[in-house]
Amino acid sequence: MNAEDYMSELEKCMSCLKLCRFSCPVAEVTGNETYTPSGKTALLYYLLNNKLEWNYENVSPFYMCLLCGRCKEFCDLDVDIPNIMRAARYEATKRGLSPSFAKDIRDKILSSGNIYGKNNEERKELLKEYKITDKKSKVLIFAGCKVSFESTDILKRLVAILHFAGVELSTLGEKEPCCGAPLYDLGFYDDFLKKAKEVAEILNTGEYETIITLCPNCHKMLSKIYKLEGVTLNAKVMHYTEFLNELRKTGKISFEKITDNEEYGYHDPCKLADVELFDAPRELLNSVTDNIHEFQWNRKMTYCCGSGSSLDKFDSEAAQKIGLNRIEEAADLGITTVITSCQTCLQTLLNLSHNSHRTVKVKEITEMLRIKKNR
């Protein structure tokens, strides 16, 4: 995570013809040359060469990035903009130049164990409300901050399916920590490393065989980034769509076919695209409906809901325009219901759909899964 290591990529990117411009949602909605991937690498190049002063004004464009990686997919120069932006943010952190929204999230994670700064004891309530037995099972649900505190509905649906399939579940309750993804993404690399080790210790203490993640960013951290950073987890990490699809494929559960007039489209969350998790959610959806369509921008070229890397907290106007572009795409393609497997995407697109002149419904994937009881 050292910006200097990217010097050769910076030189290439800043001299390119900005061929990836169209792929950057932030560049699209702001129209600002500084916010193109090439503009941001040029800025970092000038800063690292001491041709610009390190100040807030000059580092703030590094936070105008969703870390969605669409530009990377289109780049033949192999310039890894998301990781360069993380390194640039780390440089800003080292100089005390992080934006207040980022510092706020960091402080909350470090002081409370979750991104909201709430009492982590509240996570325990999930056990009661959703009837998860607290006994030591081999399968752990890692709910993530958002599901634990804001989007608890999914747990109810998921737990019902898993119980029906005979899966015994554990949770960490109040001991569940934040996975550290916001620290990693927002430039608090040192804090992230400490957090990752702390999380691994907690997870490795239990004798879990499988960890089911509900949040795409938690999933990316636990299944990929920890390993890259030398932090080992003993258990296998599965996103809930993968776990459910395995149950379906092995005949432990099946779902009712949906017969309605909706045209469904699956929205790939950026963080699942980062780990190339594309098939499980599609296979689940294909098992319940024949009316599932691909977005024009899908899989690794998926188009962010606008809340990636907390852009909504840094420039809410830009974030909203990006989300509305996704809703417009769905409507253009005749998709009437957008399905996703990310609670942040769900909430963001739901909120925006109410403000859009294009009518699109938004659902989380388990809302589509009705257990077939008489198999």
């Binding site: 030189e11 290439k12 990117c13 800043m14 001299s15 390119c16 013809l17 900005k18 061929l19 990836c20 411009r21 169209f22 792929s23 699209e28 702001t30 129209g31 600002n32 040359e33 500084t34 503009g39 040029a42 800025l43 000038y46 060469n49 041709k51 610009l52 004004e57 000059n58 464009p61 289109f74 780049c75 033949d76 120069l77 024009q296 106007e317 795409e329 253009d332 393609l333």
Partner: protein, 471 residues
Amino acid sequence: MISENVLKELESIVNPKNISTLYRDRLMYSKDTWILPVIKFKDFESLPLPDVIVWPENSEQVGAILKFANKYKIPVTPFGGGAAVTGAPMAVKGGIILDIKKMNKILEINKTSLTARVQAGIIGENLERRLNRYGLTLCHYPMSITTSTIGGFLATRASGILSTKYGNIDDMVMGIKVVLPTGELIETKAVPKTSTGPDVMRLFFGSEGLLGIITELTLKLRKLPEVQRFRVFIFDSIEHAVDAIREFMQEDIVPAIVRLYDKQDTAITLGNIGVSEKGNLLILRFDGLKELVDLQDKLVTRICEKHHGKMLESWIGEHWWNNRLDQYYRLPDILDEGFADTIEVAVTWDKLVDLYYDVVNSMEEAEVLVMAHISHVYPWGAAIYFTFAGDLEEGKDKYIHLREAWNAAMTAVLRHGGTISHHHGVGIARNPWIRKELGSTFELIKKLKHALDPNNILNLGKMGMDGVDWP
């Protein structure tokens, strides 16, 4: 510099969020993709900076900004995707850069008439992908489609790779809204053809922001073709290949893509994909209904074979299409060791081969490596696109070297009666040669400029005006 009080007045025109005087932004707006400022920017050399960047969101705001600029005699430079390779959007006299990219809405898609009304700041690729969702296309695929704006295309009279069949951007526009330099908004009627007086709309095509700022366009769309079929040939000489192309074009058999590489360019293009054939590579693509494509394919194949063309496997064409931007990604590496640039010119068939050889020989004398391809083909002639590269040599100034290469090419083209730009435009890059190119029409353009822009504020220093030379 513009005083703070004057700048404050801008805030009554656009949202203050759409105004920036930050040094970091001014720096990022100091260049387009012309190789000269790109090298200078990378080497931290000084470039002309705007004082302020403004992002209007509609034609009315553009008008108000221009009225404001006239009041205080502040230069205004329009900026689209910054993808010009001529310095056209560089603020050589400072002042305001007016970025049109926040005007990026598709206002209407008419599926009956196959038209779309769009704001000028939409990026070409984003427009094309939106149209594709409805089974439609603009058919305008310039190399810079992923980074340049539709308004920029028209302001420079750009060409796309499919121009042989579908025409250049000039042929794809039915009506425009333009804000004149003094701030008045004019709109031309969007109809397929009219005979009600001179074609005012075309006055602004290729005007590069000197005569007005294009803010809205009504575009002519097409349905996505049923079939796209590649056909690839290799010829032993450029003369044979040119004869074949001329023959099928003059028989009105029109492929969507016609691209003929000279021997140097063929060696690189085929070498990159492991094909060892030598000669002049011709890539064709036929678009349309299958039955029509079958017939065109058959007739053109017969003509190419008559002119000693040997058919190669068509996957070469498909691969070329899917990877056609690759060469542009090599530019940053080339800059480590020297420079590379492109010059695209056009001439009638009778002079085309002679012009090609003369330009290549003249540029080689200027010590650059040259290769070329013929594309954008008409029944009456074609464009030739020269790509050249020079090494950094001890004791030789790279900017002088670059200019010598340009001068060799421009002089040779003018000698043969060709045009010094087929689709990149003038900007600053062609300032030294534009008077010779335009001849008697140069003074007329100057008079028009003066009549429309009495305070001389709009895009100064371009198209041979204001005594501006290369930076």
